[in-house]
Symmetry: none
Subunit: 155 residues, 2 copies
DNA sequence: ATAATAATAGTCAATATTAGTCAAAGTTGG
DNA sequence: CCAACTTTGACTAATATTGACTATTATTAT
């Protein structure tokens, strides 16, 4: 619980700010300096932890006065996001990315914890356990899309 | 009785820590070094002694700052039903039989209606949609067994 | 206005740091 | 001796870190 990697720490820091405000605007170099990492690590953190799968939308601008803006999006009032997710999943998805999506659904209260755990169990790496991982990802995508579509129903 | 094997000793050590806390996070290499065994032996200990049947859920992460987390979970009172169902399913199950099992779980109040519908969606014929139905039934069995094992947890 | 320069952020691939899998070899109790 | 369990290690997979190079935007000089 103590010696997490620096990416996790940066993630946590950013999310703690986002807990209070709908969005934040950071200067990449400042955050990098603050945590003593190379600037591109900030891109890594964003790319792995602040994607639309995670329920975030990121915009940025380069040049003088450049910034990276991270905004939280809500899956509940935004049916478009559900469509976006399905679109994004496409034909194939890894176990890790699927986990991110399920976590987002839980955070946005579209799934209870038990529901999330059950759904996760169905598409876990060790559950599907295909020799051909490419095919496994295809099947996982079908399962996840099926779950997302099911969530459109009222009950 | 005195000189038990090293796997038993590692098991006992981990469980002694878990007696005080709900979960622990270990670094595989550290534990391996501490007991002077190869790292993969830690996996063996976990796989044989920290199963869901024993009331443990294990998560891990690789890469820098990686860890293995072992958490205690509360098991439901009657796991016999689950054991029997898992036995019944075996290696393969059709969509129809799976539906029957999910329905019975709903009637036994092990699943809410929404949970049942979600789980059904994941293993529906149109979701899995394998060309090779024999293989589809095998995968469905793995999914359903995984769900049943998840249901052992009270929370 | 245009060109040069400065100030940002982005990409990508090499390397490092973990954990997981699997099967062969060893051990032990019956 | 046999079957089940344990130990080992080579190979694989996932994740994180780093830095050189690129792209974009703003500012300054001409």
């Amino acid at each position: 619980m103590q010696n997490r990697n620096i990416s996790d720490i940066i993630e946590k820091y950013l999310k703690s700010i986002l807990a209070d405000s709908q969005q934040i605007e950071i200067k990449r170099s400042e955050i990098a300096e603050q945590f003593d990492v190379v600037p591109s690590q900030i891109n890594y953190v964003i790319k792995t932890r602040f994607t639309i799968q995670n329920g975030y939308v990121v915009e940025s601008k380069r040049g003088g006065g450049g910034y990276i803006r991270i905004a939280k999006v809500n899956l509940i009032d935004d049916t478009d996001v559900l469509d976006q997710l399905i679109d994004l999943i496409g034909e194939s998805i890894t176990s890790g990315k699927a986990l991110q999506i399920i976590q987002s659904l839980y955070e946005d209260k579209l799934l209870t914890q038990k529901e999330a755990n059950l759904v996760l169990a169905t598409m876990d790496r060790t559950t599907l356990n295909f020799a051909d991982k490419r095919l496994e990802n295809v099947v996982r995508a079908r399962i996840l899309v099926s779950v997302l579509n099911r969530l459109r129903c009222a009950d």
